[in-house]
Amino acid sequence: MSQPYVFALRNALEEIKNAEPCVQKIFLFQKDGEVIAKDETMGLDAVKALTGFFGELMQRAENIDAIENLTIEGADTTLNICCIGDLYAGSVFSRETDERTVKALTKIVIPTIIKLVDHISPVAQTLPTHQEKTEKPKETPKLSKDFMLPKAPVNQFIVEKMGGLLAPSNTVRIDCKITDGWLEMYGDKEIHEVNLESINGKTTRCKFKPNKDSKQCNGTIQVPEKIMASLKIGIGELVMVKPVVELEA
């Protein structure tokens, strides 16, 4: 449990005790017996011993029910220990105290404070302390140039079969106007491959070559049979093409 959390709880409990003179003692402990907060009138050993006795009682109660509230009424004073999530809050009141006040404190005020501190605590933990602020110089994250690259454009093409005996089976041909645009966009970055995605969601990565005959491939992509088969597409179907930009190691 973080220091700000414990500090906030301890202060809140002290304030309750100061505001309500009927509260004689107040303390807070975890289910495992660890003491979170206690007022100055109680010794740590006494609270630890108390949590030990309470733990024994909880163990015995396991076969019957889980303890949510324990009240011990003496001749002059009353002890109340109530379960609030993973914590147990204990408070000792004078018997003369109005029952409504006791209930308001044990069932409303203390649980609300604990829940509130629980809520604030994660934020407090993330905030740097004053010491950290002075000692550690502010570090600026080093961004790679690759993070500043423009988003790769996605182009749609109509599929055409790539013919020819010497046509490589792992290379597509794309309109040179498009590939020149990629080169302008990415400057000195190397683009050797493209990602192809069919309408049915199948994807593959392959090499590409610019087709300088714009009349031959205006709005079309020439795809070898092998890639068409892997994408499960045919001639005349649409395919999306995205360049693969090589990032620096």
């Binding site: 006494a46 015995r60 889980a66 949510e68 003496g74 009353t78 002890l79």
Partner: protein
């Protein structure tokens, strides 16, 4: 004169009727230094209740001593389903177990 907590000579006749009075009363345990009487509707859990009751009185008095709470008169434990009220009068201890969810 000290009374023994036996069937024939019980100091609390009304409590004996308690389990019959309503289904929310699970039972009771009467105890003093020499004898004890248990009446529970959940007969399979008699040992559990007896041990819990014994621990409750023991832990309750130890905690009270630590916090300087003099003359413990009542110890009340509330669970999710069961509420236990333990009344201490000298060496006589009366515990009543109640079902919080009244069927």
């Amino acid at each position: 004169m000290e009374k023994k907590l036996t069937d024939e000579n019980s100091p609390a006749f009304s409590i004996e009727e308690a389990p019959k009075m309503g289904s929310h009363v699970i039972g009771y345990i009467l105890r003093n230094e020499s004898s004890a009487k248990i009446n529970l509707s959940e007969s399979d859990k008699i040992v559990d209740y007896a041990m819990f009751n014994s621990q409750l009185i023991e832990s309750g008095q130890s905690i009270a001593e630590l916090l300087k709470i003099s003359n413990v008169e009542r110890i009340i434990v509330e669970g999710k389903n069961i509420k236990t009220i333990c009344k201490i009068a000298g060496e006589n201890k009366t515990s009543v177990f109640l079902n919080k969810k009244i069927p």
